[in-house]
Subunit: 232 residues, 2 copies
């Protein structure tokens, strides 16, 4: 299956820092797959509401855990206009000038109609995609949801049709005269996210071993600092 | 100055997991002050748009770097309806059941009218608050913005009037029969964010020392795992 390019509409085309925009679908997948939570934006009574939630990607479909925004989402059986944003902050960019201070980051912004997945088999599948994204290996290890539990969660589906990806992964882009002056240090302070040691729940009845899928988990950071990239 | 409690309106009162909601203003300050970026939601052509941006807090005013959403924000000289969300992900909660899998997090959701700060002195001040939040110590160290640079950035102000804070910082809240069965490990995999070693810009003319405000910077994480908190 060849992946279609990302669509380009006025709202998904940044009107600033265009050179940071990445248009291939592989970059979109990378940003989404490396994230753990997204920020889901909807319009509620004409006002924006932005809530953090978990998600998972399968091909060109994003599944979202919709319970946090369920009140408004339940009302819209034919779908709700949504914007989903995933952002990784990779570093603080210290420039010679305050103007060129910046951040290294990777972000994906997706626009589309999020629909509730209600058919039980499809909902269970969507929940599996979300769970395996948040905690890979858990689906086959932990107890599956029963009917009542499945009914109590909300799963949304959002097609990856209209999206934009922005990546900044380089050094400060200072003005030439500030560089020549050479009086101020400039560089990047990287942000590094890792997993700590697993902490067993105090209510474990015996000293159960930490399962491999938890013990072996590694955080997928890749703060590629590309000195050859054009800086701003 | 005694801080007023957070307002409680229908949209800022979560209708689910109420016990996770924190209503004191100190908690709001903590979540905001510990963050580096926020997600700014606005409504553009009736659709939600969620963009990551930097911010800084001064008392009960949040300043936002507004350039990313400038197109729509410039059009609204009398302010734009905004929702700003700051989220810290502190851990993955592995439960005995998939239903009780969860995340430990701290989040703040702020609703209000964001107005552009245009008066030069006020704008410079707002920019200072944002810069000192993103890179403490830089304002007095790096070159200040000149008039042209100041004109090229956009600063927004959003009052901290209507906000909600949610915190989950505990172990899985499994069902009693799953706990008694004692066949599945349960616990928390903490997420730890730190700063790596500063990376000097390759275009430094000489080997300038890393300034103290960069070298000494520590990431303000506090993933308080409270076993006594009520879990869900």
């Amino acid at each position: 299956m060849s992946a279609p390019p990302l669509s380009s509409t006025p709202r998904s085309t940044p009107n600033r820092t265009k050179h940071r925009t990445v248009t291939d679908r592989a970059a979109l997948y990378e940003v989404l797959d490396a994230g753990l939570i997204c920020h889901l934006g909807i319009v509620l009574d004409s006002s924006p509401v932005v809530l953090p939630t978990s998600y998972g990607r399968e091909g060109d479909l994003l599944y979202l855990h919709g319970s946090t925004g369920a009140r408004s989402l339940r009302a819209a059986s034919d779908g709700v206009d949504a914007c989903v944003t995933v952002t990784h902050l990779d570093g603080i960019v210290y420039a010679r000038s305050l103007y060129h201070h910046s951040m290294n980051y990777r972000s994906a912004v997706i626009h589309g109609t999020a629909t509730a997945v209600t058919e039980p088999e499809a909902k269970l599948h969507g929940l599996r995609v979300i769970t395996e994204h948040l905690s890979p290996g858990s689906w086959d290890y932990a107890r599956e949801p029963d009917k009542k539990e499945l009914a109590a969660v909300s799963v949304l589906a959002l097609p990856l049709t209209e999206a934009s990806v922005k990546i900044r992964a380089t050094y400060p882009g200072d003005d030439q005269e500030d560089i020549e002056a050479n009086t101020v240090w400039a560089g990047v302070l990287p942000l590094v996210t890792t997993y700590g040691d697993p902490i067993p729940s105090p209510d474990l009845k015996t000293d159960l071993p930490v399962p491999q899928h938890v013990a072996d988990r590694r955080y997928p950071t890749d703060p590629r600092l590309d000195a050859s990239a054009r800086a701003t």
